[in-house]
Amino acid sequence: MSAPQASETPKELASPTSAPGRKSLFRRALRSKQAIITGSIILLYVVLGLLANVIPDHTFWEARLDSLNLPFGSETYPLGTDQFGRDILARLLHSINTAFVSALIGVSIALLLGVTFGLIGGYFDRVRTVTEWAFTLIMTFPGILLLILLMPVTKGDYRFTMAIFGVLLSPGIYRIVRNQTIAVSRELYVDAARVSGLTNFRILSRHVLSVVRGPVVVATAFLAGSAINVQSGLAFLGVGSKVIPSFGSMIGDGFRNLYVDPWQYVWPALALGVLNACFVLFGNALRDVLQGKPPKPAKQDVQALAAGFEASDHEPDTSALLEVRDLGIGYEGTDGVVREVVRGVSLTIRDGETVGLVGESGSGKTQTAFGILGVLPTEAQITRGSILLDGKEILGASEGVLKKLRGGTIAYVPQEPMSNLDPVYTVGSQLVEGIIASTGKGRAGAREQALALLDRVGIPDAKRVFDSYPHQISGGMAQRVLIAGAIASRPRVLIADEPTTALDVTVQAEILDLLRDLQSEFGMSIILVTHNFGVVADICERLAVMQKGEIVEAGITKDVFANPQHPYTRMLLDSILDETTVRSDPPSGALATATKEA
């Protein structure tokens, strides 16, 4: 199979890629079939409603005693008449108007209250307590009951009822807006806007509202449906004005006349059902458009690929513990084309050595490490290659075999120690869990070993840390805990993915010391994925430099540093700020003031 080359964008100064420009929610919605169909049906309803006084031959209040219960297709009564001799078509079309006016009033009030107070409550910490209480209070009202009880106040006018219902709906909008606003207020660009001298009103309207808009639009579609439902429900119960036609009152009338002519019941029920379904499906479609559909897993049968791998020109390296040959990892783009992010990586690791996998972001170094571990995301596809551990193929091995390998022979130390510990459980219980799984020891034995390991990785008060929750220990401590977990099964290969990047330099130095000590004690091999050449110089005997998914240079660390061959390696080494030159030019202040005044 031919894998197309990944599109290469020069990192710096190059003209940006021609990615799709800004697209409004509306334009994006036009690409969703579901949104188009349901949106069109809703629009059709609106048009029919607007023509309510044009299409039918009769008005909706005209009751003729000479034409009771006329059937479907009668002259001037296309849908027949009801038990009072009223035109069903006319009443149906006017019901549409009632439904949309209900939705409009209910949703407008909900949006007005919810968005306004959501923005205020989300942005101004001090007001939040008040708005929170107010909206929680609204949520405690029993909705329908309240609307019925207030009938004497609203005089049965469904518009007032819907206005009150809008207030009852507002907490839903308030919560969405408040949550989004709190999240956006913490973004640095809002801080930058403050520093730029923007007023709070401008920050809210320009920076916050644009983010809040999408989810609110989606919620609005659902709320519109729910407002129509409630109005219909009340009318069906017979609460409110009998004069205004609505789906609810029509269904109610038809229901009472069910044995005479069931169609009188079917028409309004059908109209209401379709409208409601459209609002819900339209809302769902908008949400999919807004959030993007979850990618569908397309895992390839890697076993077949690995088995078919041609290794004729290759002499198996007997001293190699882990051998990666021509590994390719790709992802399917939105256009259906698989783009490789790792393009034919070959890497040999011998017993007891430390190999650095160096590269900038996007070079594919972490993907390579994940590929070896067999923990690539499900969307990833192994496009080619082979991974031999102790001469045995592990690429495409069954999950059971891999699990055993990962717990035993291969271990992993992640980049973000904190996010790799479950905040709900104590450090100790997580370690014990891992040890039981990987070594098959009993709980007491595992606990003993966990304490010994914590002690071994240089944690001063092992017992205290064992009983601590992750948030109670520092980042450096958390990384020691994870290293303790990784070495529990005495692995032969330790894959450390940027193990010190999230840590302070003083802590980094200690962690590197620890890794070095552990290596000499257990004799394990380490693959260290990093972007930091200082770390490589400190701990790696050999290194491989990755660029755009390929290894461009590999060799003994000292040789590569002294005499880099590939231009990319040379460029990277030249970019390192050297250790001795200090800024020598004086502050340019005096000069600048002079020119500014001139």
Partner: protein, 287 residues
């Protein structure tokens, strides 16, 4: 007589409120003193949680000052009203660490850069002209103005953030770890850009970073923050190459050199220093 400093912090203390009824705020910065002259770079170096970022935020008015003063051009700016603070926007600007969350993804680069100009009363036409100038001065093509931030790499985004900061021609820019989220090769280019801009415009930097090498590269003077206090400050050459304070010494020797042979020596030095310091602490404890 030396000229008056552009920015002067005296016994600056910063506290963050704690959620909950009648909880006492936590003090992050415990009284620091420093000065920045016009056109000078003052580097603030420290580890996570040391309070270095908070110092920058206090100068920007994003964190509330609980004690001491911050003077800008001889005027106390530590407790300004929101309106007065907004007026400071033309003098003090910021470049944040994360070039991803510091640009609003919904606005075009042109709108982002023009925003501070527009709120200060520029006409749209002037703002547009100035935006193009600024894009040019940070080394971005002029067609960048009509694109969205997500179409740019981290380094390019940071250039956009720098252009935004330069827009009102400020006299001080607070740079909060502006290069630490960038790749190595991009990092040195952005630093060079910052140096170049300073030489051209005479803007002063308060440059916050955890990386001693970066601070050494760009700063005239350096202050080392440790647990909310400045434990050592002085000319960059002395503080970053031959520090006096034990913490700065540890910091210097902990950063690995990108040279296997030099790093081996540095590692040995670090371990020797660590043992010495432990011994001294033990003695002090015993005494």
């Amino acid at each position: 007589m030396p000229t008056a400093p552009l920015l002067k912090a005296r016994d600056l203390k910063v506290s963050y409120p704690v959620r909950g009824f009648r909880k006492r705020p936590i003090e992050i910065v415990h009284g620091v003193d420093f000065e920045i002259a016009a056109g000078e770079t003052y580097g603030v170096v420290g580890e996570s949680g040391s309070g270095k970022t908070t110092i920058g935020r206090a100068v920007l008015g994003l964190a509330s000052v609980s004690g001491g003063t911050v003077e800008f051009d001889g005027r106390d700016i530590s407790h300004l009203s929101p309106g007065e603070r907004r007026a400071m926007a033309k003098d003090i600007q910021v470049v944040f660490q994360d070039p991803y969350s510091s640009l609003n993804p919904a606005l075009t680069v042109g709108e982002i850069i023009a925003e501070p100009l527009v709120v200060q009363g520029s006409t749209p036409k002037d703002a547009r002209r100035r935006t193009l100038e600024l894009l040019d001065s940070v080394g971005l093509p002029s067609d960048a103005a009509d694109r969205l931030p997500r179409e740019f790499s981290g380094g390019q985004r940071q250039r956009v953030a720098i252009a935004r900061a330069l827009a009102p021609e400020p006299r001080l820019i607070v740079c909060d770890e502006p290069v630490s989220a960038l790749d190595l090769s991009t990092q040195s280019k952005v630093l060079d850009l910052l140096l170049d801009i300073q030489r051209r415009t005479g803007v002063a930097y308060l440059f916050v970073s955890h990386d001693l090498a970066v601070v050494r590269h760009i700063s005239h003077r350096v202050g080392v923050v440790y647990r909310g206090e400045i434990v050592e400050q002085g000319p960059a050459s002395r503080v970053t190459l031959a520090p006096d304070h034990p913490y700065t010494q540890r910091l210097l020797l902990a950063a690995p050199v990108a040279d296997p042979i030099a790093q081996e020596k540095r590692r040995a030095d670090r371990i020797r220093l660590r043992d010495e310091q432990r011994l001294r602490e033990a003695r002090a404890g015993a005494a």
